[in-house]
């Protein structure tokens, strides 16, 4: 550790990291666009100017992201000289930057906007017209580039060079005609494209799926964990006006995903916003009918008490807390606790995605659940007298056709977050109970490396949809009473 004096206070700085990291870590934030803690510093935006004094020499203004920390250096991040230099740099950055903040999706979380306000730079000195570039350049099927808004920080270029290891973007052209382009105008490929929209400090790179859909200040953000694979990346789930999940973004986690996440998890919005949900469906005289979920749970309790051969299969999306309850339910029903473990998909890569679509595989296995494939599960179900299928996406993972083929002697109860109308034709179904999905309930998942990831309720479940924990408590309570 190296001792430096930062704004009159002696601090210890990591000599392997640039000066800006020491400033950030010690409450003296310096504005920066091109610097990103996960990427090599290049010093192209020049906004992170600080005044540094070493030894007897007079202080000089340097960029903090390209200055190594050295013993005894005296750093002033707020000196008038540093601010004046920053303001001048800002003027160059804004020279061709269009003033379309009201239209730009980044407005509200744009650091260029924030710094411009802070430095009080309301008018430029130049009178020349702004350069015109392509405003809607499509980079593949996920991302749009606005070359006018781009400040050429090259974070996106470095992301592909350094993180994915497959260079796809470059700064082409010279001087004021420089712009970001893909090689030979090819579309971007890969499962990590979305990250460049997160690290873009301005609104130059935007997601096609999110473009102009919502203002960032209207969304409530909640820390959660991604459920698309067993890596369990830390994410922030962003919900527009307490309704629809509009965006899922990575959240920094040193141990798991750093700053990144894959596009499979990022665009898993359909799973987070299920349509066609029902509080409960119950077998009546004319097939499955809408009912109160308490009645449906009561039916399941009655079935648990009436017959002897039970099968309980949990979804891999069940949390550790719910898993404990289901484990107790299984033992009270004298059956083995099982969870559905679908086959690995082909999305596995070296960076984050594990290819295993079970977010809580390890947590459930630690609890003593046994993984079964859909075929094995169907064999067990065909022999049972009552079947309890519990958890988000369980019907989809077993297969709707499989469920429809079950004989009507198997009294089947499905507790699922998303399904509903799709199950109407299954003759074995006694009741379907809608439960809260992963953006509507709190809990814990354990990822493949044993890291515990918290999921949390980013919005409240629709009226009538119950929390899985309360449904389990209800099931458990009477199964014990009945025996």
């Amino acid at each position: 550790m190296t001792k430096i004096i930062l704004n009159g206070r002696e601090i210890e700085a990591d000599p392997t990291k640039p000066l800006i990291a020491a400033c950030e870590g010690n409450g003296a934030a310096v504005p920066h666009y091109c610097y990103h803690a996960g990427l090599t510093p290049v010093g192209s935006c020049r906004i992170c100017q600080v005044e540094v004094k070493e030894g007897e020499r007079p202080g000089r203004v340097v960029v903090a992201c390209r200055t190594p920390v050295s013993e005894g250096m005296v750093v002033n991040t707020e000196s008038p000289a540093a601010h004046e230099t920053r303001r001048e740099c800002l003027e160059f950055l804004l020279k061709d930057h269009p003033l379309d903040c009201p239209i730009c999706d980044k407005a509200g979380e744009c650091t260029l906007q924030d710094v411009t306000y802070n430095e009080g730079q309301s008018e430029g000195l130049t009178k020349e017209p702004r350069d015109n570039f392509e405003k809607r350049k499509s980079l593949g099927d996920k991302i749009v580039l606005d070359q006018e808004r781009c400040i050429l920080c090259s974070r996106c270029v470095r992301f592909f060079d350094e993180i994915t290891g497959k260079s796809q973007l470059a700064i082409v052209g010279l001087g004021s005609r420089s712009r970001i382009e893909t090689f030979a105008d090819r579309p971007l490929v890969g499962n990590y494209q979305g990250n460049i929209t997160d690290i873009c400090p301005v609104g130059a790179l935007t997601l096609k799926s999110f473009r102009f859909k919502a203002r960032v200040w209207n969304m409530t953000k909640k820390s959660s964990t991604c459920g698309e694979c067993s890596r369990g990346c830390s994410v922030s789930v962003e919900v527009l006006r307490k309704g629809e999940v509009k965006r899922i973004r990575p959240r920094f986690n040193e141990d798991i995903n750093k700053w990144w996440m894959c596009d499979t998890g990022r665009f898993a919005l359909d799973g987070a916003n299920p349509t066609n949900r029902v509080p409960a469906l119950v077998r009546g005289y004319s097939g499955l009918e809408a009912a109160d979920s308490d009645d449906a749970v009561a039916m399941a309790r009655a079935a648990h008490a009436a017959v002897d051969k039970h099968v309980l299969i949990a979804s891999p999306w069940v949390t550790v807390e719910e898993g404990e309850g289901l484990k107790a339910l299984a033992s009270s029903l004298n059956t083995e606790a099982l969870f559905l473990s679908p086959a690995a998909n082909d999305l596995k890569d070296d960076l984050l995605h594990t290819g295993d679509p079970c977010p809580n595989r390890r947590g459930l296995e630690e609890l003593g659940f046994v993984g079964k494939s859909a075929e094995e599960a169907m064999e067990l179900l065909a022999q049972a007298e009552s079947a309890t299928l519990f958890g988000e996406r369980i019907a989809e993972l077993i297969g709707l056709d499989n469920l429809k083929s079950l004989p009507s002697t198997v009294r089947t109860f499905v507790f699922d977050g998303s399904s509903g109308a799709g199950l109407l034709e299954a003759p074995a179904l006694q009741a379907v109970v809608g439960i809260a999905n992963w953006v509507e309930r709190p809990g814990t998942w354990v990822n493949i490396d044993g890291e515990r990831g918290k999921i949390s309720a980013a919005r409240t479940a629709p009226s009538g949809i119950r929390q899985p924990s309360s449904v389990i408590a209800d099931l458990l309570h009477t199964s014990e009473v009945a025996r």
Partner: protein
């Protein structure tokens, strides 16, 4: 205990009838004066460009809406009356509202939306009348809010005049 002393009436007042005649004389006199009230529905309100009526969205001459759905009026609104959802357009101005709702049950006609708007797209019109038989009918969507720029010309000129007092020079 408080003892209230009643006013002693004079002989003339006690006689009653002279006082009635005096009152009728005032009534009769008012009949020939100019009335200070207005017959409202037949005789409409006098509005000027200063009138702060219900907010309306300005539609340009080429029938494009000025609003870019930036959401500034939405957060400026103290009554949370405005809800906006944006969508992409093919025009040079890339964004326009897909849904723009003002809940006139909530709107307090304060004019903050007009003040917040960076595009002169929402303007306080001179329309003041507001009645409906249902609550849903008073939540105005885009179809009910759009007004051609010609209808709001006077208000836009007035707002520009006021804003010029604060602007030292134009920055865009």
């Amino acid at each position: 205990m408080v003892i209230i002393k009643r006013k002693q009436l004079t002989w003339m007042e006690k006689a009653y009838l002279p006082e009635v005649i005096r009152g009728l004389r005032i009534t009769l006199g008012k009949m020939f004066q100019k009335p200070s009230t207005r017959q409202y529905p037949e005789d409409p309100l006098i509005t000027t460009e200063v009138t702060r009526g219900q907010p309306r969205l300005v539609v340009n001459e080429d029938s494009t809406i000025r609003c870019v759905s930036c959401g500034l009026c939405e957060i400026a609104c103290p009554a949370y009356a405005i809800t906006i959802d944006g969508q992409e357009t093919d025009r040079m101005i890339e964004r326009e509202p897909e849904k723009f709702e003002i809940d006139f049950l909530r709107c307090i006609l304060c004019g903050f939306c007009e003040e917040a708007c960076p595009k002169e797209a929402i303007m306080m019109s001179d329309e003041l009348e507001l009645a409906d038989t249902s609550r849903q009918g008073l939540i105005y969507g885009l179809d009910k809010l759009k007004r051609p720029v010609s209808a709001l010309k006077k208000r836009i000129a007035y707002i520009n005049k006021i804003n010029d007092r604060w602007r030292t020079s134009s920055s865009t």
